[in-house]
């Protein structure tokens, strides 16, 4: 079997938005990764202390897995076919049949069991996304948007990665578009999704999501001063990893969203409000990176030196305030061309 002839691999910052961008573009609707991310309203924050990932609380800088696929369906009216399987062999057979029919197929997988990931990046995270574009002998040809070039993965390995059990288990999920619209009414859709996302960040009913979630995380850093220093170091390192390494990280998502706001502004007759919101969101992303830098320099401190947790809390509260301000400005933007 050959690779689907006209499929173009591209390098993107984040797996799920990258996969959706590549797939809908392949089906004739060119959408940038930033556009996919913004249109699905994927910018989020959540700090969930009672859900543990490797013994550490879950910190997410975006909406939950699969929400980009689902959000894009909803806002654009794309029809996606999504399959999960209880039987791995059946899941592999269906994949092969789809490839035979000429489809490129999106799939959810574990990171740990994909051999092409660098060893030091292989953790038990089960909500990775990739595109399978063909099969050659025993190898699947994979377009994984977080890698610069196309990858290969042996059948047994891909099977293991698709059918790993546990938190956010992929259950062999595969997906592909059935129908893609040829025209998008940006003038109508963009203002709505942008305001909805800003509201979601500002006005959450739960104290662990949105801006309130960032503040909750900041407070939990203050409480580290009473804890074992080794645990405190691991917790800080965990925050930075969730922010910088996993997917594209928290700061990364702020930059993607800033890029989306810029693109949206241009589509809406150079909307000044969106252009300045994009610039402000860029500054927020930079502040998230400053926080990461401060956290890692705190971890580096020798055992005897006191780690300054309150400085970190303060920095994070500052980030929360700056981010909240961007959303408040966004809510005030006037869209004239409705």
């Amino acid at each position: 079997m050959q690779e689907q002839q006209d499929f173009k691999h591209r390098h993107f910052a984040h797996c799920e938005s990258g996969v959706m961008s590549l797939m809908v573009s392949h089906h004739g609707l060119p959408l940038s990764e930033a556009m996919v991310f913004g249109l699905s309203g994927a910018l989020m924050f959540a700090y969930i202390p009672f859900v543990k990932l490797g013994g550490m609380p879950l910190i997410a800088y975006r909406s939950r897995p699969r929400s980009i696929i689902k959000g894009l369906q909803k806002t654009l009216g794309i029809k996606m076919k999504m399959h999960t399987f209880s039987n791995p062999s059946k899941g592999m057979a269906t994949l092969d049949a789809l490839l035979q029919q000429g489809h490129v197929v999106g799939a959810q997988s574990s990171v740990f069991w994909l051999p092409y990931f660098p060893p030091e990046m292989r953790f038990h995270f089960n909500a990775h996304n990739l595109i399978i574009v063909g099969k050659e002998g025993d190898d699947y040809l994979i377009s994984d948007p977080v890698f610069e070039s196309s990858q290969r993965c042996a059948t047994e390995d891909l099977k293991k990665a698709r059918f790993v059990k546990g938190m956010m288990a992929p259950k062999g999920l595969i997906y592909y578009p059935l129908a893609v619209p040829d025209h998008i009414d940006y003038q109508r859709i963009l203002p709505a999704v942008i305001k909805r996302n800003a509201k979601a960040m500002l006005k959450t009913p739960v104290p662990i999501a949105g801006i309130r979630g960032i503040r909750a995380l900041a407070r939990s850093i203050t409480r580290l001063s009473g804890k074992d220093p080794r645990q405190a170091r691991l917790f800080l390192g965990h925050i930075v990893r969730m922010q910088e390494e996993i997917g594209t990280g928290g700061a990364g998502f702020r930059f993607i969203y800033a890029s989306f706001l810029q693109e949206a502004g241009r589509l809406l007759d150079n909307n000044r409000g969106l252009e300045s919101a994009s610039r402000e969101m860029t500054i927020v992303g930079d502040q998230w990176r400053e926080f990461a830098l401060l956290a890692v320099t705190t971890i580096r401190k020798k055992r005897n030196d006191k780690m300054n947790f309150s400085a970190l809390t303060e920095k994070l509260l500052h980030v929360a305030a700056a981010e909240a301000e961007v959303y408040q400005r966004i809510l005030k933007i006037r869209f004239t061309c409705l």
Binding site: H11, A13, G55, F112, E120, K160, R241, I256, G285, A292
Partner: protein, 137 residues
Amino acid sequence: MEQDMVPQDNISTYADNKKAVYATDRSGNYNVIASSGWEIEEEATLQAVREMERLAREAYVLAARGEYSPLFFHMYNRRMDIQVLAEATGLFKWRIKRHFKPVVFDRLSEKILARYSDALGISRQKLCSLPQQNRNL
């Protein structure tokens, strides 16, 4: 972030891979830039990797002394903890903890051993023994 500020620290954890990041050019336009990594991210990743290696090393010593079953080592060597292993095997945590006792582990049925070897991705023979040296993955 501006394009010239995108870190290019060639970090070891990327193993020569690059990550796409969004950054602005001189006139403020966003582009996707390939980054060879930020040393701050590398430090955080290595901290987590070393912690997992430490757990695996300690488990190896305990298992080599016969105080714990080889399962205890293989779990950490696969970067898992009891929570992840319980989810991957569908066994209760208290049962897994019991299986850390060598006496209990030695009497496990083939069926249970198969669940472990499947979840850990190692053969039954490997599961029931310790490697010569404690190597990773």
